[in-house]
């Protein structure tokens, strides 16, 4: 059952395609050459396989327990968490100021795929801690940051993000938790539900980042402020003080990620819960969005990482399971179709996420302000796509993995049913995928008068122009160009509807639009990678004197690198030939604008 990943594909993305080692020439990442990045990546995989993977089953079978006033994580989590922290994995990509490692975001994303893929539930604790600590670091006073952040990156204290309330899920603006000024600090009162890592026994203290409304502030999102609320108070000298009146009322019993506690937290039942305001009053939502944007991409990574793990598992199974005499199920066309679908989606998602993470790094090292902004804008445009596309496709891939396994996939002895259950939540939390689609069409596409969208469009269009006559991929490039034009066409249509006061049709088709953009962008990335892969493959063929098909084929059978490169070419071809046409079909449906969903009397 051991966790497996196509390590070469991760390396290919980082070092061959994105060339993150070139970041090492910048001042910020001086010294991060390929050797260092590889060493870090290798160590991360080793840690995932040896320390996290053994927690996978226990995470599900034992789950979290709430007994008396204590919440415990599954056995082994605590030791592994401290080991994880001691190795510097919590704050990999955050500045070194308060104990982060200052590594490139792309490298961190690649390493995190291993942690998430080997056990999503375990990775939640460190992910939320990193996100909340980084938020305090980014917006808190020097004093606040010093007091909380080093212990969070160091693994001594955990962190959470507390938005959701019973009546305020997607509509965070409806929250009713209040903050009342009390000298330099605030008294917090309210109930938050569904809080991941809200309570557990991994760390001595838990630092909650709580959205609340200061008494008297306006209703809606504009009146929300952000507070640092520790479970146990922290004295100015850093020592742990008394309990801060944060009570765990309940933990949820759920479909998946059972090793990640999901808690109902009651703040200030006895009027004794102190919070420290982070940043400015009524600026809570914009600040929380820093964490949420990171968390949305991290969510997308859950989709991609689970896909990858499920694919590798299904592939291994298909290589040993025979049916119908000695025939491996791997040899049946329908099983091969499922496997390559999983492979192509998995590689596509990985390419999308690492490309996006790399935008962050490019922005950081860029000196020119206008270009800097361009990268940041593109990342913000792609964020809802990363989140919703990768989590929906991620679920689909885990489902295909189960199908490949047949009945054995449905039973708990094999890992795939757990991958499927664990990954499902990723399309729901951090803003449901429906909300992501609305974010894409309502805010992101039109941002800066549509400039970020136009630039993304131009990047893809430029690729199509450049490779239009490519000897091996002209047909794929032609298909991408066609689908891209359709995205342009639909974008105009959405704008047209909007301008004519039809707000419902764009909302109705937002999800299809997001999938289309995802399919086209992924087709572009996979084909661009295939162009590179084929060039490398041809070098190998040439260097080994393969001048005919038979010799070339032999090399691809025997040489691991050649086999990998050939596999990249096949992934791209398959994706463009079999998955991209779905975008064309959806385009047709969007333009037809069938109103039944709005008209039907349920």
């Amino acid at each position: 059952m051991a966790y497996k990943v196509n390590y070469r594909d991760v390396e290919f993305n980082l070092f061959d395609y994105l060339k993150i080692q070139d970041l090492g020439q910048s001042e910020k990442y001086a010294g991060f050459g390929k050797e260092e990045c590889s060493a870090i990546l290798g160590e991360a995989l080793k840690f995932a396989q040896k320390e996290i993977d053994p927690l996978f089953k226990k995470s599900d079978q034992v789950g979290c327990k709430h007994e008396g006033d204590k919440v415990t994580a599954p056995p082994g989590f605590k030791e592994a968490y401290h080991n994880f922290a001691a190795n510097g994995f919590i704050g990999m990509d955050v500045p070194t100021t308060y104990g982060g490692m200052g590594l490139p975001v792309g490298l961190t994303m690649a390493a995190t795929e291993f942690f998430v893929g080997s056990c999503i539930a375990f990775s939640m604790y460190s992910g939320l801690t990193r996100g909340s600590a980084h938020l305090i670091e980014a917006f808190g006073s020097e004093e606040l940051a010093q007091r909380f952040v080093p212990n969070m990156y160091g693994g001594k204290w955990g962190g959470t993000m507390c938005l959701t309330e019973p009546q305020a899920g997607s509509a965070v603006g409806d929250l009713s938790t209040v903050a009342v000024k009390d000298g330099d600090q605030y008294k917090i009162k309210g109930t938050k539900i569904f809080i991941s890592s809200g309570d557990h026994d991994l760390t001595e203290n838990i630092i909650h980042l709580v959205l609340a409304r200061v008494e008297g502030d306006p209703a809606g999102t504009k009146g929300i402020s952000l507070f640092v609320v520790p479970k146990f108070r922290v004295n100015p000298d850093g020592s742990t003080g008394e309990w801060n009146d944060v009570k765990t009322v309940n933990i949820e019993h759920k479909m998946g990620i059972k090793g990640s506690s999901t808690c109902t937290l009651s703040f200030g039942d006895s009027g004794n819960c102190i919070g420290y305001m982070l940043g400015e009053q009524r600026r809570g939502m914009p600040m929380m969005f820093q964490m949420m944007n990171e968390a949305r991409i991290a969510c997308g990574l859950q989709g991609a990482a689970a896909s990858s793990a499920a694919y590798e598992s299904a592939l291994d199974y298909a290589k040993v399971r025979t049916q119908g005499g000695k025939t491996l199920i791997l040899d049946y066309p329908d099983v091969r179709r499922m496997l390559i679908t999983m492979k192509a989606y998995t590689e596509g998602m990985r390419a999308l996420l690492l490309y996006s993470a790399n935008l962050d790094d490019k922005e950081v090292v860029e000196k020119d302000e206008a270009t800097k902004e361009k990268y940041a804008g593109r990342l913000s445009l792609l964020t809802p796509v990363c989140k919703a596309y990768c989590t929906d496709m991620g679920f689909k891939v885990t489902e295909l993995a189960m199908q490949v396994y047949g009945g054995y996939g449905y039973i708990a002895e094999y890992p795939v049913e757990q991958y499927m259950r664990d990954v499902k939540i990723s399309s729901i939390y951090e803003g449901t995928n429906g909300i992501q689609a609305l974010d894409l069409i309502g805010r992101k596409i039109g941002q800066k008068n549509g400039e970020y969208f136009r630039e993304l469009y131009e990047e893809m269009n430029g690729f199509c122009t450049k490779q239009a006559a490519h000897p091996a991929f002209a047909s794929e490039v032609g298909s991408i160009k066609k689908a891209l034009d359709q995205v342009g066409q639909v974008t105009m249509k959405l704008a047209e509807w909007g301008m004519s006061g039809n707000v419902l049709s764009p909302q109705l088709h937002a999800m299809s639009y997001l999938y289309n953009l995802g399919d086209v962008f992924v087709s572009y990335l996979l084909t661009d990678q295939a162009v590179l892969a084929l060039a490398k493959l041809e070098e190998i063929w040439k260097s080994q004197g393969a001048d005919n098909e038979e010799k070339k084929s032999k090399i691809c059978t025997e040489n691991d690198e050649a086999r990998f490169l050939e596999g990249k070419v096949k992934s791209a071809r398959f994706f463009v030939a079999n998955i991209l046409p779905q975008a064309t079909a959806r385009t047709k449906a969007i333009l037809a604008d069938d109103q039944s969903p709005l008209k039907i009397r349920f």
């Binding site: 050797e35 060493a39 001691a86 190795n87 510097g88 490692m101 691991d560 690198e561």
Partner: protein
């Protein structure tokens, strides 16, 4: 204390080994190399010993081709302080020549305690540690599972069939480490970043081995024969047992 740890870079256990067509060695292409697994225990013990003895320093020594420096970097990232790479100049020396050169370097640098893995997992010879001890005239304990150091003496426990042996040896001494001795730490991220600034001294095997000549010549490499597939025995339980016993006795000849 001046501590040394001897490590060897070996093929990953998961690497599919292919032999060269002429049988002169293994195909280096596509092989992934790692630090010998038992050597990791040796590194851990060396670092622990340093942590317990203020003012100590750990030097990692690896004899092998240029790629061995990768293994050295890993050891440095785990927490060793500096390194010596003895470049074998692609001569792939046998245990005797290796031990001669290592013993000379250890003596030259004045190390007081040396750790090694119990064996390297490439050829599984388990020879170098003992030979180094012999050439240095030092005590050695192999398969160490527990070690305590105090007052210039070491108490080492090793497992033997049916029990344990406990040795008390004066330092300097050399210890061949077994899995159960400790849990090797990971190369932490700050460790990896620091590793590249730590000094690596390069020596040449030809200069360090003196006039030692190999005692072992590797003449031919081939893969072990493939295992025959298992056989299912049909029939009810009684018939199966009967057939199994017959097969074990007459075919496998194990009972």
């Amino acid at each position: 204390m001046k501590i040394a740890v001897l490590v060897k870079q070996v093929p990953d256990t998961e690497t599919k080994i292919k032999t060269k067509a002429d049988g002169s060695g293994i195909e280096a292409d596509g092989v992934k190399y790692i630090v010998g697994p038992y050597d990791e225990n040796a590194i851990e013990e060396a670092i622990k010993t340093k942590e317990k003895n203020a003012g100590s320093e750990v030097t990692v020594i690896s004899l092998g081709p240029v790629r061995s420096v990768e293994a050295i970097r890993t050891a440095l990232a785990m927490g060793c302080d500096k390194a010596i790479h003895i470049d074998d100049e692609n001569s792939n020396p046998d245990a005797y020549v290796t031990a001669k050169a290592l013993a000379k370097v250890i003596a030259d640098k004045g190390f007081e305690i040396v750790f090694t893995g119990k064996q390297a997992i490439d050829q599984d010879n388990s020879q170098v540690t003992q030979q180094v001890a012999e050439f240095l005239g030092w005590p050695q304990v192999m398969l160490v599972e527990k070690l305590e150091i105090a007052g210039g003496k070491a108490t080492a426990t090793r497992r033997v069939s049916g029990g344990k042996e406990v040795y008390e040896v004066p330092l300097p001494a050399i210890f061949g480490c077994e899995k159960g001795l400790n849990t090797p730490r990971y190369a932490s991220l700050p460790g990896i970043m620091k590793a590249k600034t730590k000094p690596v001294e390069t020596l040449k095997l030809s200069a360090e081995k003196g006039d030692a000549q190999p005692k072992v010549v590797l003449s031919n490499f081939r893969l072990p024969p493939e295992k025959a597939p298992g056989r299912m025995i049909a029939g009810d339980a009684a018939a199966q047992v009967k057939e199994l016993v017959r097969a074990l006795r007459e075919e496998a000849k194990v009972i």
